[in-house]
Symmetry: C2
Subunit: 320 residues, 2 copies
């Protein structure tokens, strides 16, 4: 986790921008501006809307990345938003990761993959790339990915090995930010623990061999901003586990609420906001449908930059 920690220290900002575009979050004129180009490219006209939106997602992301690259240490593209568009969307995801990496950002791929050992080994190529040596090829351009723990150790080990080999990281779901997360994660075990506490202990163990110079392992945990008390308790329970904290902003998490998820040095957690940053243009009061696509992208960028600064300052205010 040292590369991420250095990036956070460099920017003095423990926040990450979630690049989760949807059709509603991209100004209409930006999407429309690609209509002609795409119509010429696709073989079947039914493919055009998805292809057009994919290109628009990438341009939208690029504008945001350019606007926040000197403010935040990391971005977190959510692959589901791209997968929703089919293979064309996957191309936009990969291009987004590549572009963010080129701008010096730590790229956290929110893919939440998880499977049995041999299959997890295939997914782990997200981190290790294809081939080795002089023909090494990294198609995904991620510095870390999120992973689901439901299958246990043999589904995690291949990711830990790939992360170690490539100087990358993983973040395992422990306590997610959504309302229904309690249905499984909060169940009380016969031992008296909750399921998520048991998972927390597994996660701390999965990382034990990979603790870096800053005291954190390569195996982080996803702990929702919507659970401040549990997050604080997990911080004490998992001293070598870095937290990815989603659910800030639009989902209800606050700077005060996440303060307890940091360690005594103000490190140990990375707080994500998606809609609050990338959708800030919608609340700017400056948007108009008659704007040009370029002007709309400028507004997206400027609004995202201001929102990212606000989030940084709000987090700084609650940290030691």
């Amino acid at each position: 986790m040292d590369r991420l920690i250095e990036a956070i220290e460099d920017k003095q900002n423990p926040s990450v921008v979630g690049l989760d575009p949807t059709e509603a979050l991209v100004p209409k004129q930006v999407v429309a501006s690609f209509a002609e180009e795409i119509a010429k490219q696709v073989e079947d006209p039914t493919e055009a809307p998805a292809a057009q939106l994919s290109v628009a997602f990438f341009e939208f992301n690029r504008a945001i990345i350019d606007a926040v690259a000197d403010i935040v240490p990391a971005v977190k593209p959510q692959i589901a938003m791209y997968e929703a568009l089919g293979p064309a969307g996957i191309d936009a995801y990969s291009m987004t990761c590549e572009y963010a990496k080129q701008q010096g950002l730590y790229v956290l791929g929110d893919v939440k993959r998880g499977d049995i050992g041999s299959t997890a080994a295939a997914y782990a190529h997200h981190l290790s790339g294809v081939n080795a040596g002089e023909h090494a090829f990294d198609p995904w351009h991620e510095d870390a990915v999120t992973v689901n723990p439901y299958l246990g150790t043999d589904g995690i080990t291949p990711f830990v090995e790939a992360a170690t080999g490539a100087d990358k990281d993983i973040f395992v779901l422990v306590r997610t930010s959504n309302p229904s997360s309690s249905e499984l994660q909060e169940l009380e075990l016969a031992s008296g623990e909750r399921v998520y506490e048991h998972v927390a202990d597994l996660v701390e163990g999965w990382g034990a061999e990979t603790i870096g110079a800053n005291g954190y392992s390569r195996v982080g945990a996803v702990v929702g901003a919507t659970h401040p008390e549990e997050g604080k308790a997990l911080r004490a329970r998992m001293p070598h586990t870095f937290f990815l904290v989603p659910g800030y902003g639009a989902q209800g998490g606050t700077a005060q609420g996440v303060a307890g998820m940091f360690d005594k040095d103000g490190m140990g957690a990375l707080v994500n906001s998606s809609r609050g940053i990338i959708g800030a243009w919608k609340k700017s009061g400056k948007y108009s449908e008659s704007m040009s696509a370029d002007d709309a992208l400028d507004l997206v960028a400027e609004s995202a930059r201001e929102a990212a600064k606000d989030m940084r300052d709000n987090l700084r205010a609650v940290l030691p």
Copy 2:
């Protein structure tokens, strides 16, 4: 689940072929046969091996699909194997699904996705496609997908809605086939139940509104062939839940072991074999490195066909 059940009845065969290609499972000369074509297409030579393998995966799958399409009701491509190659692999996955569907097979995408509500809604486009009406576009060509339950109901509901709208299905992980699955899934709860039993009850509930003509809902369960006793108990516990049963063959599951996962009419479960079918050519004793690519693909096809027939006959022998 009615479309799947009809396909099983039509073929009198409750088995599914897992299309999980790896570099080791595709004859070398098949991969080599695409070298020249790919070298001309890629911009950067480091991309060539992944692109070449992606094309080889598709041709390998096509040979197998052609060989088994009149024997099995369904195929189950494991997306991880394709994702391992980057976006080029994703294209091969989508093309594989499309081709299998064109041959009349039920296509079960083993994607094991799972996320919070708004993100699960994006993933659910695997089933609902992009756009609606006359511009409807289905980029994934899947009839069902597998889903991870760790995030609870709000991560499942969007998939159930998409499945209902598109006459498709989902299969939720309950008790997976891998050794470490016990770490979480077998934990004893304060209530005396195991975690997987609690998940089983959630799954039965998630499907309750979608029970079809054959008595099974659109929300199936993944129950590993490596847990015969638990599978039998789950069969009784989940009367409206169809089972996808991985772990047969290479992972150790047997026809006798899975017999208890079927209902009294010999329905209610679909048993998967991947390596046992698609890798059967390696055990045929007929392969030689000096074969042509076409001859090697013929051997792959013929061996897969024989293995699929054997599996069908072994399952028929234990069913009522």
